[in-house]
Amino acid sequence: MLYVAIATRGFRRYSTYRAATLAGIFTNCVFGVIYSYAYLALWAQQPDAGGYDATDAVTYVWIGQALLMTVALWGGGTTDDLAERIRTGDVAIDLYRPVGLVPWYLASDLGRAAYHFLTRGLAPTVVGFVLFDIALPASPTAALAFLVSLVLAVTTSFAIRFLVAASAFWLLDQSGVRMLSGVTALFLSGMVLPLVIFPEPLRSIALALPWASYLQTPADIWLGKRVGLDLLAALGLQVVWAVVLLGVCRLTVSAATRKVVVQGG
């Protein structure tokens, strides 16, 4: 119940900035249009690249724009608050709360993600549907599995962002690591180019890494490329990464609290 309350606050906090949300949706749509035409040109020359047809490719673009903020691909979200609190020393207060640091921030980030999904996720999808006639989820199962996959995507991304923020325990300032992590995520999630059209062996490697969870896996589920046992395998891999990374987060917190002196002031 506590976590639901935290998540609700996360949701409400982000919903305060209406103009920011509208501006963001507009920007997502502009980029959606640009990439749609780029991919249409690509798929016109190679109509079955990566096992996608042109409609799949354009749909992939708009799913990407919808998930960009939802999974906080660039970084950001509640972990930025954590990094700032580590820098200022306020994290000391977080540490003596009767709730673990990881679950507290995870709940709050899931609340944020829910808000971004409903606004910055849905709105560009509708625009993409109107402008480019993108594909809807392949089946009701696909739609449901997509939502499950999305929660796992946010959790995985949260764990990585949490580790980035926790680097501030040692470096004091997370911004360098944050940007490096964002760059990696951008490329290995398939945001720059779908992972399925990467040349081998880059393709297989990228698909096995946690960042595939951010966009490629949910998108493939939406498009009905992963069904039956393959679907379970896709979700299973996401679960494994989420659990492993959250475990690393916990270990990092205990290492940090033992080793690091909190910035005083």
Binding site: A19, A20, S175, G176, L186, P199
Partner: protein, 272 residues
């Protein structure tokens, strides 16, 4: 009049002084600074790897070879890189309004635009420019140069910066009205940059007309590059569009200055 000229002469010196302070400040977190410089280089590098992977798959994009796209990419990248380095901080104007720091800036004896642009000056953005220069040089290696092409190329690179400069300022002014809409400008600045990385022939003519007459980012690289590559305009626009970028840049700056003045005049402090 003499006062205005004095102010214009003073501005770069004042800018440099503020920028120097920010460089020293960013160096105080050394590890972070090193990683930031590295990643801002990596980000544009991976961007180009994306294009390369795409071209690797299809050989050419709409008849454009990778080196030709490199030319487009490099010109646009240098343009936005220089603009972002020098005045990218103008994006933060909403933040200054919200937190009230703009009031403090207004009473200082340095022009407001200089202060806002020099704020948080980040030398690491040189990483992005370096990468764009390398890509541009590689593309330029293949061009059959003539004196007039050299001139067009020089005008292109300078005007590209000026056009992005104006876009940054003009669209950031929106924040005088809605403080938290900083992302709105991104659609035009970074969006314009992304669009001009591709040959514009992949877009429908309506989009290209818009990019020529409304938000004229087509002049950042498209028209001059058509000339450098001896290509016919696929949409039938005249060849002399190649020498228009300086004019477009000047016009855009005029509009940006107007937007800025209107915004500042309208500004009333948050009062907090």
């Amino acid at each position: 009049m003499a006062e205005v000229l004095d102010a214009v002469r003073e501005a770069p010196r004042q800018y440099a002084r503020i920028a120097r302070l920010w460089i020293r400040s960013s160096l105080s977190y050394r590890t972070s600074f090193a990683i930031l410089t590295l990643s801002s280089m990596l980000i544009t590098f991976l961007d180009f790897v994306g294009l390369w992977l795409m071209l690797h798959l299809i050989g050419d994009l709409d008849g454009w070879a990778l080196w030709e796209i490199a030319l487009l990419y490099g010109a646009s990248g240098i343009g936005i890189g220089v603009a972002d380095l020098l005045i990218g901080s103008v994006e933060q104007i909403g933040q200054h309004i919200r937190t009230g720091t703009l009031d403090a800036m207004l009473v200082r004896p340095v022009p407001l635009l200089v202060q806002v642009c020099a704020d948080r000056f980040a030398i690491r953005r040189l990483g992005r420019i370096t990468q764009a220069v390398v890509v541009f040089a590689w593309g330029a290696w293949h061009v059959e140069w003539t004196p007039s092409k050299v001139l067009v190329a020089l005008l292109m690179v300078v005007s590209a910066s000026v056009i992005f400069f104006a876009l940054f300022v003009a669209f950031s002014c929106v924040q005088f009205w809605t403080q938290d809409a900083s992302e709105f400008a991104n659609a035009f600045t970074y969006g314009g940059n992304t669009m001009t990385q591709y040959p514009l022939s992949i877009f429908p003519i309506e989009v290209v007309k818009m990019l020529t007459f409304v938000i004229p980012v087509a002049f950042v690289n498209w028209y001059p590059c058509l000339y450098l590559l001896d290509r016919e305009d696929p949409f039938g626009f005249p060849g002399w569009f190649a020498i228009l970028p300086p004019l477009v840049g000047a016009l855009m700056c005029g509009i940006a200055a107007l937007a800025w003045r209107t915004g500042v005049r309208r500004y009333t402090s948050t009062g907090s």
